[in-house]
Amino acid sequence: MIEAKNVIKKYGQVTALDDFTVDIPKGKIGILGPNGAGKSTFVKIALGLIESTSGEITVLGENLDKNSIEIRKKIGYMPEHDCIPNKMTGVEFLIEMGQVSGLDYQTATQRTHEILGHLRMGEEKYRLIEEYSGGMRQKIKLAQGLVHGPELMFLDEPTSGLDPNARQEMLETINGLAEISNTNVLLSTHILQDVETVCDYVIIINNGKLQIKENVKELVKRQTDTIQIRVGENSDEFISILKQNNNKRNIEITDRWIRIPYKNEESFKEIISAAASAKCQLYEMERIAMTMDNIYLEVVN
């Protein structure tokens, strides 16, 4: 989808992207990195908003240097900040945006209603934007990027500030986007669980360089060498039995969970028999999986 080869971008003395090479596959891609690490510079270059100092970048098979106007028709952008007028209805605003992107009035109207249908906006689309809730405003922001039918949609913090319901709905919408209209998605966010739930691939940028590019499903399947357990009554007896069996290993105990190191399958057997002989409830037993947080912090720090 996006191919960058040895891209360098300098702002005066500051190097934002330093010999940056990446081949981003199609699908839903999460793009992560600390502020000022080069993430937004890369996105701006890929959107054709700024030019790189040197290097080559191809977006959707077209070279950016030559076709930066053409390419914009294939790209949609949902900015992070509020950028929508209050005194218009959702429909009016989107039709206008469609016309700005070069659609005629009737097509723009048709596209608007089609997209708002996908986003599950009901009659409220005829209301003024200022009356919208946070989740609805985000949907309008998303819709304005989609109205001209882009092949690649870039989303900047789409779930920021949304409450759990609205956030869930936004994530489902993004998933649907890729499935229904085959739009590729580039998602930049600070909420790493969003990447976990939505994205196929994740890339992490730090210090102007690509740190990792991995399949998300593979990444979070990785397990750590710690087993987390939660038990009910008689936990003291349970712990003392465990300690006898694990005298050389360190057991971490808090009032919320017990964590013991995973050695092999025997570890599970020991836990189960300890619970059986202590007659205590074994509410939870599981090897802790890697989360995006662990991976991110490992890569960035």
């Binding site: 920021s160 074994l282 037993m285």
Partner: protein
């Protein structure tokens, strides 16, 4: 050790409902307050901070009414949801400005402000104007201001909003360590995952009413009308089938499902306590080793959608 008690508190703003008949008892440690926008989370916080007076009922923070109480204000640190800065000040100026209000001398205030900001990782930018700060730095500055005078109670309204993952992680570690020191911390966040990481004690609130409060596992147990689903995965996948069969022999297992592709079985029971007590023994007897016993039923995601969104059968 500080405690916060709400006794049937109702707060109306004119004709608009803030919170309605809320009774709470919040003790030391972290308590998460969850709910949709406009559910009453901020109102709850404002009432306990003494920024709003209850319309009906009473609030006691350490046994006293917080409205217009001066001594209490040295004990409570508040991080509001929105920005609340004098943008032209540097973080050190800003934090020390408020520390002087807390009766520290100028020198002490500056020193405490610097320490508190350095602890939160702002050492490089704390002399720059707040106007130039990123969202994460702003959150850290707010937290530094609320904690620099070492209050016993912390009220954090969406402290992770807009913070990058590194900042988020750092703030969570700090919150954890303050909780271990015995501070009473009330925190709201839209990211359920973050709250789950910090604590099991939650308050679920919607339409101004408290739907449930307490330990999330206990809350799930109280919802006895909804059977609990437990995921189990044996190490030897050949034992999937025998295990389901064996478990269905027990009359307290209402349903069993085999997910061969995932190598898991899902059991459903109305008598979860019985299940959790007897299951290890059954495994012992049958000589089956499992590597996973989990229930997604008492995760915050699941509780939230069941109680707040009313999706009981998600």
């Amino acid at each position: 050790m500080s405690t916060i008690i709400f006794e049937e508190v109702t707060k109306n703003y004119g004709r608009v409902q803030g919170i309605s008949n809320v009774s709470l008892n919040i003790g030391p440690g972290v308590t998460g307050i969850l709910g949709p926008n406009g559910a009453g989370k901020s109102t709850t916080m404002k009432v306990l901070l003494g920024l709003a007076r209850p319309s009906i009922g009473s609030v006691y923070v350490d046994g006293v009414n917080p409205f217009d109480n001066f001594d209490l204000r040295n004990k409570i640190g508040f991080v509001p949801e929105y920005d609340c800065f004098y943008e032209h000040m540097s973080a050190v100026d800003y934090v020390s400005y408020f520390l002087m209000i807390h009766d520290f001398s100028k020198e002490e205030a500056v020193e405490k402000a610097e320490n508190s900001l350095i602890e939160l990782g702002l050492q490089d930018s704390m002399y720059r104007k707040i106007r130039t700060y990123s969202r994460g730095m702003r959150q850290k500055t707010k937290v530094a201001r609320a904690t620099a005078f070492n209050p016993q109670i912390l009220v954090l309204d969406e402290p992770f909003q807009g913070a990058d993952p590194t900042t988020r992680h750092l703030l969570m570690e700090k919150i954890n360590s303050w909780s271990e020191e015995g501070k009473t911390i009330l925190i709201s966040s839209h990211i359920l995952h973050d709250v789950e990481y910090l604590t099991d004690n939650i308050i679920l609130i919607n339409n101004g009413r408290v739907l449930a409060s307490g330990n999330r596992h206990e809350i799930r147990k109280l919802m006895s009308n909804i059977p609990i689903q437990i995921k189990i995965s044996p190490i030897d996948k050949n034992q999937l089938r025998p295990l389901v069969k064996r478990m269905l022999d027990e009359k307290w297992i209402t349903a069993g499902r085999l997910l061969e592709s995932e190598g898991e079985i899902i059991l459903e029971t109305n008598e979860s306590e019985k299940f959790y007590t007897e299951f290890p023994q059954i495994l012992e007897d049958e000589k089956i080793i499992v590597e996973k016993i989990v229930s997604d039923d008492d995760t915050l995601d699941s509780l939230y959608s069941k109680l707040v969104e009313g999706k009981q059968w998600k």
